[in-house]
């Protein structure tokens, strides 16, 4: 069954790596729903968040292929229930309409929106939240002459992750311990495979 999977990939900061990762998906004709690159909790290490809609089998295989890339430290995949995730959206609306027709305070309160800029001709709102929340406000503002809309990629934190600090120490060892060389399947699955 296809569902949303959020990939979290820790990488070196290397020119060309974005392409190397992106083509893993395009080669398999998988559409990337959203992609974000940012610094991570560790200086010099980048963190990709990639959102795709796929089956677990496909996701698992692609994650292994990604992790195989020389400049990739570690790749994880998660379903929505195991992450905290947010997207950021910006809305540009004519100020005149807003002033006449919309109760701004109510808008702000109902949708958790913030005003980030007010000009005589337009006002920019910002919301962060999940897809349904930003979508709802999009719909509402559509009725009030929405001029521009943009939404960021999903960014996500894995609920039970302890971050990468400890892992990195082991990656830097010439002979990493077994503990850090996470198996390409989960420990529970691996155990079930022992006859």
């Amino acid at each position: 069954m296809k569902q949303e999977y959020t990939l979290t990939i820790y990488t070196e900061n290397q020119v060309g790596l974005l392409n190397r990762i992106a083509i893993m998906f395009s080669r398999r004709k998988i559409n990337i729903e959203s992609m974000n690159t940012s610094p991570s909790e560790i200086e010099g290490i980048h963190r990709f968040n990639i959102l795709i809609n796929e089956t677990e089998d496909v996701v698992r295989k692609i994650v292994r292929q990604i992790e195989k890339q020389v400049d990739v430290l570690k790749a994880y995949f998660n379903t929505n229930d195991t992450i905290i995730w947010q997207e950021l959206a910006l809305y540009k609306v004519p100020t005149a309409i807003i002033a006449e027709k919309v109760k701004v305070e109510r808008l702000l309160r109902t949708y958790g929106a913030r005003v980030v800029a007010i000009r005589s001709d337009y006002t920019i709102f910002e919301t962060t939240g999940q897809r349904e929340e930003t979508d709802t406000l999009l719909k509402v503002l559509g009725e009030y002459g929405l001029i521009e809309f943009v939404r960021s990629a999903r960014i996500a934190i894995i609920k039970d992750s302890k971050g990468f600090h400890e892992k990195l120490k082991e990656f830097e060892l010439a002979e990493p311990t077994q503990h850090i060389i996470d198996e390409p399947i989960s420990a529970a699955e691996a155990a079930s495979k022992v006859v």
Binding site: G16, I23, R27, V72, E183, K193, V195
Partner: protein, 578 residues
């Protein structure tokens, strides 16, 4: 001599010296123990070639006739020597001509370091003369690639390149160096080989619970079948593998790239897997109770239809690349790791077993295959020569000691089916990518990788015309390769499929050939052409005895088909004998 003195000086004083980027490339190659480079110069790589001029006594450079020839030669060198092949090419068309070879080396896990020249850094992205985006073009077909724009990066980039190319699951690496970096003088503090990159783990950690589970499963097995691939050769684990199968007497069948890892006359060697493999290994894959895959990746040409592949068997999969486990065939026991380490761990726990009645089933299948296919192929009743009998006669004359390089198509399948091999690293072929034109240049490299061995390139009349320009390389360097063209005056494999699956609609497979002996003569290469059985042995003898390169063309039956065959979309159990 001068450079040796400089090296000693560095070690003695550790004081940095001023050298050019091009010189740093040479020093890296020397430090990595490179002895042979296959390449072709051009504008953007001229400073590197200029530096090479001073290293001619340490680095043998073979000037090829086309960059594709250069990279296939690098592959041939790597395959017979086990070392990293090194290839030079210039920017733009030079670099794009490497792409087929990179893809071939990527899919066949061949260690290469390719160095391409690039336009000056300030011209990047301006559509400069002979500029092309080599890094992005080659990303999907390299294990790693990197662009150097500053000479200071050269030693480290090359150290990483050699480490990555030939560690773990090997593969091709490309380093693109802008011309300014090649010319730039910088402060060089010596070359440090790389043996660790924090984001790269060449080998997964071996887990004893899985090697133990594998051994237990094998000990319980009644009909175990071992299938092995190039991983045994790349891991230099031929002896460990032999000990493994011998301890419990398990039959072992090979993929096309695994061929020669186990001597072909070993009593437990039951033959070739896959589409044109032997009958027994294919049908009995679907009768074994435990399937043990060693250093192979369940390619579709090996498995046929996956939902009809070894469904009854428990699967043990040994591989150094974790992404191969469960990729095509689910493993019941995944044994991550280098088979050089994991095989002895399993062998130590194996009980001595007698599986002779199971092994006999392979012999019975072989008898069936002999009757239906092999006897006719090796001892035909008509006057028309077959590819199989040519290979059989070659076996008798070389005693299985030659390196055999094959191209792609019918002759490749026939050569791999019938050639005898006594030692590892003797079969050089384009397996995964199926690159026609591979054999002639690969044979050049194979000879440099195994200078004391006889190298025979077996090539079809289609493939040889794709890279025939490399006869020039053979001529110029007097490279002692034997070129055996099996000419059936067709693009035989495509014609076979058209015969079997497209109602004999022979669409553009009728290929004409030049007079190869005359062509060879133009290159000052001796040659002969035969079409009668009475001439075969003598002609092969003359070819093998000739001191230097030799071309022998043998005309074989035009419309012979290669059997057995697992048609595309069928299971291995549905293999056809005719």
């Amino acid at each position: 001599m001068q450079t040796e003195m400089i090296n000693e000086e560095i070690e003695a004083t550790s004081a940095p010296i001023e050298i050019t980027g091009g010189d740093a490339v040479m020093r890296a190659l020397v430090a990595e123990g490179v002895d042979t480079i296959f390449g072709y110069p051009g504008g953007a790589i001229m400073p590197i070639y200029d530096a090479l001029y001073d290293y001619r006594d340490q680095l043998e450079h073979i000037l090829v006739r086309h960059e594709q020839g250069g990279i296939h030669a690098g592959q041939g060198y790597a395959r017979t020597s086990g070392r990293t092949g090194v290839v030079f090419a210039t920017s733009g068309p030079g670099a794009t001509n490497l792409v087929t070879g990179l893809a071939d080396a990527m899919i066949d896990s061949t260690p290469l370091v390719c160095i391409t020249g690039q336009v000056f850094a300030h011209l990047l992205g301006t559509d400069a003369f002979q500029e092309t985006d080599v890094i992005n073009i080659t990303t999907p077909v390299t294990k790693w690639n990197y662009q150097v724009t500053d000479a200071n990066e050269i030693p480290e980039a090359l150290a990483k390149a050699f480490y990555i190319a030939n560690s773990g699951r090997p593969g091709p690496v490309l380093i693109d160096i802008t011309k300014n970096a090649q010319l730039q003088k910088f402060s060089y503090a010596g070359y440090k080989p790389c043996n660790h990159i924090r984001s790269y783990r060449p080998k997964p950690v071996v887990r004893k619970e899985f090697t133990a589970a594998a051994a237990e499963m094998i000990n319980k097995a009644e009909r175990p079948l071992v299938i092995f691939g190039q991983g045994v050769i790349l891991g230099r684990a031929e002896n460990e593998f032999k000990a493994f199968i011998e301890k419990s007497g398990m039959p072992a069948a090979w993929t096309i790239l695994g061929l020669s890892a186990l001597s072909t006359d070993h009593p437990l060697n039951v033959g070739m897997l896959g589409m044109h493999g032997n009958y027994g290994p294919n049908v009995l894959t679907n009768e074994c109770d435990v399937l043990i895959a060693v250093g192979m990746r369940f390619d579709d040409r090996v498995t046929g239809r996956l939902d009809r592949y070894a469904k009854q068997a428990k699967v043990i999969h040994l591989d150094i690349d974790p992404s191969e486990i469960d990729k095509n065939v689910k493993a019941d026991v995944p044994v991550w790791g280098d088979c050089k380490e994991t095989l002895p761990m399993i062998t130590a726990l194996l009980e001595k077993k007698d599986h002779s009645s199971w092994v006999n089933k392979f012999s019975e299948c072989m008898e069936k295959e002999k009757e239906a296919v092999i006897n006719n192929e090796l001892h035909p009743s008509t006057d028309i020569l077959t590819m199989g009998e040519v290979i059989e006669q070659l076996n008798l004359l070389t005693n299985g000691d030659a390196v055999i390089v094959t191209d792609v198509g019918q002759h490749q399948m026939v050569a791999c089916r019938y050639a005898k091999f006594n030692q590892s690293k003797s079969n050089v072929t384009s397996g995964g990518l199926g690159t026609m034109g591979f054999a002639l240049p690969a044979a050049i490299g194979a000879k440099y990788g195994a200078k004391d061995r006889t190298v025979v390139a077996v090539i079809g009349d289609g493939g040889v015309q794709m890279t025939i320009q490399e006869l020039g390389t053979i001529m110029q360097n007097n490279i002692n390769v034997k070129i055996l063209i099996l000419n059936n005056r067709f693009l035989g494999m495509v014609r076979q499929w058209q015969d079997l699956f497209h109602e004999k609609r022979y669409s553009f497979v009728d290929i004409a050939s030049p007079d190869y002996v005359t062509v060879a003569k133009g290159y000052n290469i001796e040659g002969n052409s035969i079409e009668e059985r009475k001439d075969l042995v003598g002609a092969l003898e003359t070819m093998l005895k000739h001191d230097g390169p030799y071309l022998l063309e043998v005309f074989v039956g035009k419309e012979n088909n290669v059997f057995p065959m697992v048609p595309q979309g069928c299971g291995v159990g549905e293999i056809r004998l005719k």
